[in-house]
């Protein structure tokens, strides 16, 4: 086999006396026949490394950049606290301080238990609805027309020219069978007015009884502005006790008008 290949190679050398150019790539092939000739196939190895031909890689080198990456790319400030001085809620409403106003009653300045016996309470007991009570028990009368409980109250109107005047009593009695009467003193006629009168059955629970003046100016004394009213209790039917009484929580006037 080896001698046969040597013979072929010797023949080729005889036909092509010149050397066949060989591509630098890898293999050269030359066709040959009648009009051509084909060389022997020749193998060659290009010993220039492929990588080195196309690029070059250096040795790996370690480097420390002493400029910190963050500092180079950005900067962060110190943290700062902030208070938004307009809280959301505050922007929505505001409430004022509470204020009290009164349309004050005219308080009595003195009282007289004309008939009856006062068992408890003072003038101040009549000022407010506060369960501070004046307690008056039935008393002796001079004649049958008098009421066994008769309380006379005096005050001073703050207004010289009243347009409305009312006398109001919050009281109760301790038995059924009693009648309550309120009337106002008419300074022009110099008597308790027989028209502006309120008559009610006595209530055993606290209730408000009042009398309203139809002509307020007559009930305010000219000059002194004195006002006077009367509260009477008399028996009109069977009672559950002989020692009936009336308990007063408040007795005042309400006056409107001007000076």
């Amino acid at each position: 086999m080896g001698s046969a290949l040597a013979a072929v190679l010797a023949l080729a050398g005889a036909v092509f006396p010149w050397p066949v150019p060989i591509a630098a790539s890898s293999v050269a092939q030359v066709r040959s026949g009648q009009g051509d000739a084909v060389s022997r196939e020749v193998a060659v190895f290009n010993d220039l490394p492929t990588q080195l031909a196309g690029d070059s890689v250096s040795r790996e080198v370690a480097l420390f950049n002493d400029l910190p990456t963050q500092l180079a790319g950005d900067s962060v400030s110190r943290e700062v606290a902030l208070f938004n001085e307009v809280p959301t809620g505050l922007a929505n409403d505001s409430v004022s301080r509470e204020v009290a106003v009164s349309s004050p009653p005219v308080l009595p300045t003195s009282f007289q238990v004309f008939r009856g016996i006062r068992d408890a309470g003072t003038l101040a007991s009549l000022f407010e609805l506060d369960n501070d009570l004046m307690d008056i028990r039935r008393g002796i009368t001079a004649n049958p027309t008098e009421a066994p409980i008769t309380l006379i109250l005096t005050g001073a109107s703050p207004l010289a020219n009243p347009t409305a005047l009312e006398f109001s009593v919050a009281a109760r009695v301790n038995t059924v069978g009693l009648q309550v009467t309120l009337d106002l003193f008419d300074w022009v006629a110099n008597r308790y007015d027989p028209t502006d009168v309120t008559v009610r059955n006595g209530s055993t629970t606290f209730s408000r009884v009042f009398v309203t003046a139809t002509n307020p100016a007559r009930y305010v004394r000219s000059g002194t502005r004195e006002i006077r009213a009367r509260y009477r209790v008399r028996q009109t039917g069977p009672t559950t006790t002989q020692t009936w009484r009336s308990l007063f929580d408040q007795a005042v006037w309400w006056v409107e008008g001007s000076n």
Binding site: F83, L90, V95, V99, A100, V101, P105, A171
Partner: protein, 405 residues
């Protein structure tokens, strides 16, 4: 006796470092009112506080600042011990309470700070907690029952009154249509409104819960209870609205309770925590807000905040520090049942139509009136609003409210 093992020491050191890392809240207290250490039931009489400026040195009884409308205590420390109750007797002007504390504040288990509104009764309008508003007046001697007091007071309608107060709406009873007032920041400090009285039962309504601010640069521990709920109704009247509890501290801890609502028909009150570290794991009843805080906090509303005051009733100028008591002399007197002109002065309230001002009047005996006022002059800096209102005989209280439309 426990030995300090290395592990224990490590825990201690770490805890100390942690404490050091916490921002220390700056509380403006010179400690001049001393120490409050409650071991038996104690009532603080707020009426003893002299009138002055809140940051002037105290003498142990606080200072009433009429401009801030608060009784301010500047304490070294505050503690309510196990089983003890700390309560308050109202100042005549009924302001809220402020505790500015240098050291720690502690409410021990079963200890309590109580600012409840009074319960409805048959005798007189129920007394509110400090900074709250009275309950509607009971009827007596033929006089009507009354609506509740305050900007959200309950009306008298039907068979029951209703608390309709701040925080949230009442869930039962007649609704008087009033809006919720104030804000979750609890700036300014203000309590709950009163419930209306029962119309047929003649029973007074429960009063509103009070309002308190406790601020400390140390630790505020609530293992007991801070209670500012509204007062209960009575035989057909309703409960007052809850008040306000604002706690500000470097650290808030404990497993107790903060209550501004009893869960009933009352309007709920408000609670706000502001802390650098919130370790509280107890319960809060009522509306609740938690905020973090650094070294500063907002003690009072800023000067640019909107404000309103009732300036004049009829021909009477109203003092800047009204008392609103139902005793003579009242802040103003009228001698007519005909309408009277009310003037409100507003500051920092827009006058471009985006805001409105309302007036609510509540008689001692009778139904509320709630009306919108008319802008008559002024601008954002200062404006004046007016309305004519008729007052029934006797006592009437009123508040004005400016609100964004």
């Amino acid at each position: 006796m426990r030995r300090n093992t290395p592990r224990n020491l490590l825990v201690v050191v770490l805890a100390a470092l942690h404490c050091a890392a916490l921002a220390q809240l700056q509380v403006p207290s010179d400690g001049s009112d001393g120490i409050i250490d409650v071991s038996v039931d104690t009532t603080i009489d707020l009426g003893l506080a002299p009138t002055g400026v809140w940051n002037q040195p105290g003498t142990g009884v606080g200072v009433y600042d009429p401009e801030r409308w608060a009784v301010v205590f500047k304490l070294q420390s505050l503690r309510v011990r196990d089983g003890a109750r700390l309560t308050f007797r109202n100042h005549p002007k009924n302001p809220p309470v402020v505790f500015l504390v240098q050291g720690d504040v502690t409410v021990d288990p079963n200890g309590s700070i109580l600012l409840n509104g009074g319960n409805g009764n048959q005798a007189r309008p129920a007394e509110p907690g400090p900074g709250g508003f009275r309950g509607g007046g009971p009827g007596s001697a033929g006089l009507e029952t009354g609506a509740g007091f305050g900007p959200g007071g309950g009306a008298v309608r039907g068979i029951d009154g209703a608390s309709f107060a701040w925080g949230t709406h009442a869930t039962q009873g007649p609704n008087n249509g009033l809006p919720i007032y104030s804000n979750s920041e609890i700036l300014p400090l203000i309590g709950g409104s009163g419930a209306g009285a029962g119309a047929t039962t003649q029973s007074g309504g429960g009063a509103g819960g009070g309002a308190v601010l406790i601020a400390t640069g140390g630790t505020l521990t609530v293992n007991g209870i801070i209670d500012a709920r509204g007062g209960s109704g009575n035989f057909g009247s309703s409960d007052g609205a809850g008040g306000a509890v604002r706690l500000v501290a470097s650290r808030i801890a404990g497993s107790g309770q903060v209550v501004t609502s009893n869960g009933g028909s009352q309007g709920q009150g408000r609670t706000r925590f502001e802390s650098g570290q919130d370790l509280f794991n107890g319960s809060v009843h009522g509306t609740f807000r938690r905020d973090s805080v650094g070294t500063q906090f907002q003690l009072w509303p800023v000067s640019s905040a909107p404000s309103v005051r009732i300036a004049r009733i009829g021909s009477t100028n109203i003092p800047a520090d009204p008392k609103s008591e139902f005793s003579f002399p009242t802040d103003a007197t009228v001698s007519t049942t005909a309408p009277v002109r009310i003037r409100v002065e507003a500051t920092n309230v827009p006058t471009d139509g985006s805001w409105s001002v309302f007036l609510r009047t509540s008689p001692r005996n009778g139904e509320q009136v709630y009306v919108q006022m008319t802008l008559v002059s002024g601008s954002l800096v200062q404006s004046f609003w007016e309305v004519d209102v008729a007052f029934p005989r006797g006592f009437t209280a009123m508040t004005a409210r400016a609100a964004r439309n």
